[in-house]
């Protein structure tokens, strides 16, 4: 993905979005403390330092999901990606990070599609994710996360995947975050968290 890329192809856009998700999910896991901080290592991406996990199982899982997601992005059959954070003891869903995807299938190579602008947008989104942690309620109990993908109904479900429920939060507060677009794919981000009784 060189900076001198003039236009952007569907494949390139899919790769960009998949990369964003990979780093975005890692940031969420680090910020929310789903995995201990010492299992993360610092890397540089999008001209900022981000946290990436070193846990082998987690890495494996993420690469599986992201690679499958890339294919689907290329086919434009994916509608949403959701990171669901559940409390282990009560099996309640505490947080939902939802990324809506809009695929412009009538893609055409625009005149000016700068990689830098897309990167700038991605940077702002990731910064915002880090910032939202300040007002999200503390996750006091041990939590685990899950990645859900909303696809078209007629999509063939691959072997290791299965259908699941949407895992909605009971009594949630939603906050809409920034979005970014590669002119082929548009990614809207939002976070929903369980309303705590004090608020």
């Amino acid at each position: 993905m060189s900076k001198t890329l003039k236009g952007i192809t569907l494949k390139g856009s899919a790769e960009l979005v998949a990369e964003f998700f990979s780093f975005g999910i890692n940031s969420i896991l680090y910020q929310r403390g789903i995995y201990p901080a010492e299992t993360f290592t610092r890397v540089t991406q999008y001209d900022m330092s981000l946290q990436l996990t070193t846990d082998a199982k987690l890495k494996n899982y993420l690469t599986n999901v992201i690679s499958q997601l890339k294919e689907w992005l290329f086919d434009c059959t994916v509608q949403k990606l959701v990171v669901v954070i559940t409390c282990l003891e009560t099996n309640e869903v505490l947080e939902r990070w939802q990324f809506d995807l809009e695929c412009d299938k009538t893609f055409f190579l625009p005149d000016q599609c700068k990689y830098e602008s897309i990167q700038e947008e991605i940077r702002s989104v990731i910064r915002q994710i880090t910032a939202t942690v300040t007002f999200l309620p503390l996750l006091e109990t041990a939590c685990a996360f899950d990645l859900l993908i909303y696809t078209d109904k007629d999509l063939e479900v691959p072997e290791q995947w299965e259908e699941s429920g949407p895992q909605l939060i009971d009594q949630s507060e939603e906050v809409r975050l920034r979005s970014f677009t590669t002119t082929i794919h548009k990614v809207n981000s939002m976070v929903a968290y369980k309303r705590t009784n004090s608020t």
Partner: protein, 700 residues
């Protein structure tokens, strides 16, 4: 007062001085007047001096008096003060006395009360005393009574003692008698022995006799049995002979059986054949019946055929007679069809008329009505024509009927009558139809008239409108405009409402979208099966399970430790490695237990040996039933329960025993008296008892 005194003194002094100086002045003034006046002057001076002195004296006496008065007053005052003080003190004393008085009175009262209480107590005590005295008296009386009783009892005792002495004497007498009787008993026993021997001999002989009797009876029984058997055998031989004869017959019987079986089969087959034949016959009978029926029907049909032929001929004749060119029923039908066609034509004409009316309403209503009337008349004429035809047909029929007068009168007639009636009914139906159509036509005519009227009215209204249109043009447009405006406003309001709804729905959709809702028709949610949440849940559950198991095991271990108190030899997963001390102690414990066990066994064996030895040698089994009580059972005891009870008295180990009474000991009173009371030796008594029992046991 002193100041007063001083001031008076000073005032008097001043006055005295003034007096003195006065006369001096007067003296000085009057110095030039010498002569007699000197004596007079001296005399006056003396008199004045004396007056002055008197005055002074009086003054001084006054002063003194005043002083005395003042002193008196002072003293008075002092006295008064003292008196007052005294009065105060006396009053205080009084008060004190009064208080004391009161207190004393209170004390007196209290004392009085106490006195009263004391008196009451005294009285009560007195009463108690009296009661006690009474009790005492009663007790004395009782004591006296008891004394008397005691004396009586003493008397009784003395009497009883006398009696016991007498009884003892009697006992002794009886003992002597007893001993003599014992001797007699011994003699008798010897006789008894002899008798017993005889008895045994006799019993033996008796037994022999009985055995021989039994043998004889047995032999008799055997004889009877043998005789029975003989009889049975004779019967059997007879039976055998019969059987032999029967046996001879066997082959013949077998042959017969075979024959019978063959016959049986044959008969069964014939039976089947029979059933089949029966079915055939039934079938043939049914056929016969059917054929007969068919024959009957054929006959009937032939008859009918003849009838129909005759009728045909008659119909053909009708045609010839009526002149309607009717040779076949088809012609009749044609005629009917023609009539119907005419009717249809009429109907069509009616309809055309109606249509013409509809077209020419405005102009030719009355002409239409006239037309209608004409047509109505025409239709009436047609009706009449049809009626005439009908009448003609009826006449024909009647003539036809009248022609026929010969055979087969009634059925043919009936048939014809039926046909005629049918025709009649058809014609009537046609009639009614025509009439209904006529009525309809009339109604339509009426309705058309109404329409015509309405149309004319509308025409007039339109004409009026045309006339007034020019006037009302603007009003109409204004009304239209207002109505249109209202509609516009309504539509606008609706549009706004719909817009708001739309907004709300969009918000809701957005909200749901944010929350993660999806349309199940178009989307589905998938995730990896092996996802971190499921893995974490599994691990969590496993951890919980493991912890629970650990908890359970620990609890069991704790319980066992608390109950056992140390060594737990169960297979708990948590094994604390035992220290060396604990192992040594355990070994020691085990060895001590083993020693204990062995000692117990040895002791048990020894005790058992000793007891058996005692039993065998002394002839008594000694059991300790209760603490300090020993039960002795003799070897030669007649019953199991015969036992002697001894109780150990005195300190342990001294060996002093007492015999306690049991049923068995009551039977040995003689021995008890002799050996225990007189000789006071327990071993002798026991040996006497064994000898006694032994002698009882063996009677030889």
């Amino acid at each position: 007062m002193d100041d007063m005194e001083d001031t008076t003194i000073f005032s008097t002094l001043k006055s005295f001085k003034s007096l003195i100086s006065g006369p001096d002045h007067s003296l000085l003034e009057t110095e030039p007047a010498y002569g007699r006046s000197d004596l007079q002057k001296l005399y006056t001076k003396r008199v004045e001096l004396e007056e002055a002195a008197e005055r002074v004296r009086s003054h001084t006496s006054l002063l003194q008096l005043t002083q005395e008065k003042q002193q008196m007053e002072l003293s008075h005052k002092r006295a008064r003060i003292e008196l007052e003080k005294e009065a105060h003190s006396s009053s205080r004393d009084l008060q004190r006395e009064i208080d004391r008085n009161r207190e004393l009175l209170l004390k007196i009262r209290r004392l009085e009360e106490r006195e009263e209480k004391a008196n009451q107590a005294l009285n009560e005590q007195m009463e108690n005393n009296k009661a006690l005295k009474r009790n005492l008296e009663e007790l004395h009386k009782k004591a006296n009574v008891k004394d008397s009783k005691l004396t009586e009892a003493d008397q009784m005792i003395s009497e009883l003692k006398d009696e016991t002495r007498r009884l003892n004497q009697k006992i002794q007498i009886q003992e002597s008698k007893f001993s003599t009787q014992n001797l007699e008993i011994q003699a008798l026993q010897e006789q008894l022995d002899v008798q017993r021997k005889k008895y045994q001999d006799v019993s033996q002989r008796y037994q022999n006799l009985q055995s021989s009797h039994s043998i004889s009876t047995e032999s008799e029984l055997k004889m009877k049995e043998l005789e029975r058997r003989l009889a049975l055998q004779e019967q059997d031989s007879v039976i055998v002979k019969n059987m032999k004869s029967e046996m001879v017959r066997l082959p013949e019987l077998e042959r017969e059986i075979k024959r019978l079986r063959e016959e049986n089969c044959f008969l069964r087959e014939t039976k089947e054949n029979n059933s089949l034949l029966k079915e055939e016959t039934e079938g043939l009978r049914k056929k016969l019946e059917r054929v007969e029926r068919v024959m009957e029907e054929k006959l009937k049909a032939e008859l009918e055929k003849e009838k129909l032929e005759q009728e045909l001929q008659a119909w053909e004749n009708i045609g010839q007679a009526a002149g309607l060119n009717i040779r076949k029923p088809e012609d009749l039908s044609r005629e009917v069809i023609q009539i119907q066609q005419r009717e249809l034509n009429l109907k069509q004409q009616n309809y055309t008329l109606n249509s013409r009316k509809a077209i020419d309403e405005v102009a030719q209503t009355q002409a239409g009505a006239g037309h209608l009337k004409a047509k109505f008349l025409e239709l009436k004429l047609v009706l009449l024509y049809v009626g005439q035809e009908r009448d003609g047909m009826r006449a024909i029929l009647e003539s036809y009927d009248s022609e026929l007068a010969t055979s087969e009168y009634s059925p043919q007639l009936m048939f014809r009558v039926k046909e005629a009636e049918d025709m009649l009914q058809k014609v009537q139906a046609h009639n009614t139809e025509m009439e209904t159509q006529l009525s309809k036509a009339q109604e339509e005519a009426g309705s058309f008239k109404l329409q015509v009227q309405m149309m004319t009215a509308e025409l007039e209204a339109l004409k009026e409108q045309h006339v007034s249109n020019a006037e009302k043009n603007t009003l109409a447009t204004a009304e239209e405009v207002s109505s249109l405006r209202q509609k516009i406003e309504e539509l606008e309001a609706e549009r706004q409402r719909l817009e708001e709804q739309n907004n709300i729905l969009e918000m809701r959709l957005e909200r749901h979208n944010l929350q993660g809702d999806y349309d199940p028709v178009k989307t589905k949610v998938i995730h990896l099966q092996m996802n971190p949440t499921s893995i974490a849940k599994q691990q969590h559950a496993e951890e919980v399970e493991q912890l629970r198991l650990e908890c359970q095991l620990l609890r069991d271990r704790i319980r066992k430790i608390e109950a056992g108190g140390g060594v737990t030899k169960d297979d708990t997963t948590l094994i604390i490695p035992p220290s060396q001390e604990i192992l040594d102690l355990r070994k020691q414990m085990e060895s001590a237990e083993l020693k204990n066990q062995r000692l117990k066994e040895v002791f048990q064996k020894k005790i058992q040996e000793f007891r058996t030895a005692c039993y065998v040698l002394t002839g008594y089994q000694i059991d300790i039933t209760v603490e300090n009580q020993y039960r002795l059972t003799s070897v030669y005891a007649e019953h199991m329960e015969d036992s002697l009870l001894f109780k150990s008295t005195g300190p342990v180990g001294s060996g002093s025993m007492q015999l306690l009474e049991t049923d068995f000991s009551r039977t040995l009173t003689g021995l008890v008296d002799l050996h225990l009371f007189h000789q006071k030796s327990i071993p002798v008594f026991l040996s006497a008892v064994t000898i006694e029992l032994f002698s009882r046991q063996t009677v030889t």
